[in-house]
Symmetry: C2
Subunit: 248 residues, 2 copies
């Protein structure tokens, strides 16, 4: 089994190292990851300038682009084969609810899915540096093995969030739905040393609605959360309603 | 009615100008848009450096960030009010099928939706510069008026694609579902003047599956396509299947 790993915290991040080590239990591991942190880049693809790939070890490439670029470049150019699975992570910090639309980690799994390759995004629910990457990596191995054996549903990838706890304290994994955040943004508005205004998008407190069955509900109670995601954003429930508007 | 416009082609793009002109029929128009082209940036948010906003006209701000940054900064800082609607576009080029996950235009509407503001993304289906922005803008005005009158379903925004045809040749609007692309990526792999490799993500031929009722199906037959989207990526159909895996 050939496994491609990437992330958005950069090629030297501890979460990626823990994941790479653990995944060797399943097969041959290749890493194509950003050369620096690329969080909150969403599903961004670099179209307007060239990319560089630096081979920093036998099976490890550092790319000066986004996680989506890494998957794209890895599969179309740097690797001479199509991997059996793409695993993205382990992200430092949760990827829950609506916030996943900003996530480089989740978007890398999205990109693999668009290429028809099974994919899993894994995040550690931590607001600090994160302690228990190894426990999360062990779960990722079990889940990747299951996905390989059972096959993922068509066009579907898995978004995994693991509480930052020692393995024995993590509660059993639950299949969840994507939750919802109560949005609260802030902008820092200041004046620079030359008298010009600048704006900095503030950190936003994680504040999720405690919806039963959701990703947040699971991890906030110490469970691993596994959400099956797809790329179809259609809100099917509103189609009939819209069709009643007199412009249609 | 107060209307906030943005786009991903940049503040000086003809699609935005056509939209701004047409929208004055509905109310007061404000523009907060990237100072340069920001296509394929997805739902990227700039967290790691400050942003600058340049007021280039009474109600027009140019920001050195992504479309998502523009909506965020506009609503939280540059404007002194919450707009009644956010319209993003008119994009030069279609935003159809899975490709919308890369789109800065669509992501700006996504950002407004996260803030609880009704939002519409509008794109002109053209592979060249685009000719008929005015016809597309006229439809956007009609749709925005209808959305204002009827109200959009909760957490839902509209993704609109208009064929690049004179108004009288455009066929009636259809409510559609998000289509699917047959993915084919290419990487240009070359050597630079100093002998180092570089990679450039290639342009990808638009190649959609002709699914009845989809966005692509509509626009390829000359109709305007209006797809209701939401931010819930959960694949509900696969939840029961996953729960049968023995790790859950």
């Amino acid at each position: 089994m050939k496994i491609l790993l990437t992330n958005d915290d950069g090629v030297h991040a501890p979460g990626l190292k823990a994941l790479a080590e653990a995944m060797t239990a399943l097969g041959e591991v290749f890493v194509v990851a950003p050369d620096r942190e690329q969080s909150a880049v969403g599903h961004a693809l670099t179209l307007h300038h060239p990319l560089r790939a630096n081979r920093i070890d036998e099976n490890i490439f550092a790319v000066d682009g986004t996680p989506t670029d890494c998957v794209n470049l890895g599969i179309h150019s740097l690797l001479s084969f199509k991997p059996d699975i793409v695993v993205s992570g382990i992200n430092r910090g949760a990827n829950l609810g609506d916030d996943i639309t900003y996530s480089g980690t989740v978007s890398a799994a999205m990109e693999a899915t668009l290429m028809g390759i099974p994919a899993i995004a894994v995040s550690l629910v931590t607001s600090a540096e994160g302690t228990n990457y190894d426990a999360a990596a062990q779960f990722a191995v079990k889940l990747a093995a299951a996905a390989q054996k059972k096959g993922l549903p068509a066009d579907t990838f898995l978004n995994v969030n693991v509480p930052d706890l020692p393995g024995e304290r993590i509660r059993p994994p639950l299949v969840t739905i994507q939750g919802k955040r109560s949005y609260e943004g802030t902008i820092i508005d200041k004046v620079d040393p030359r008298g010009r205004n600048y704006y900095w998008i503030g950190t936003v407190d994680l504040n999720f609605k405690d919806i039963e069955g959701s990703d947040y509900h699971a991890v906030s109670r110490g469970h691993v959360s596994v959400t099956p995601l797809h790329l179809d954003l259609t809100n099917y429930n509103s189609i009939a309603l819209l069709k009643k508007w007199d412009i249609f």
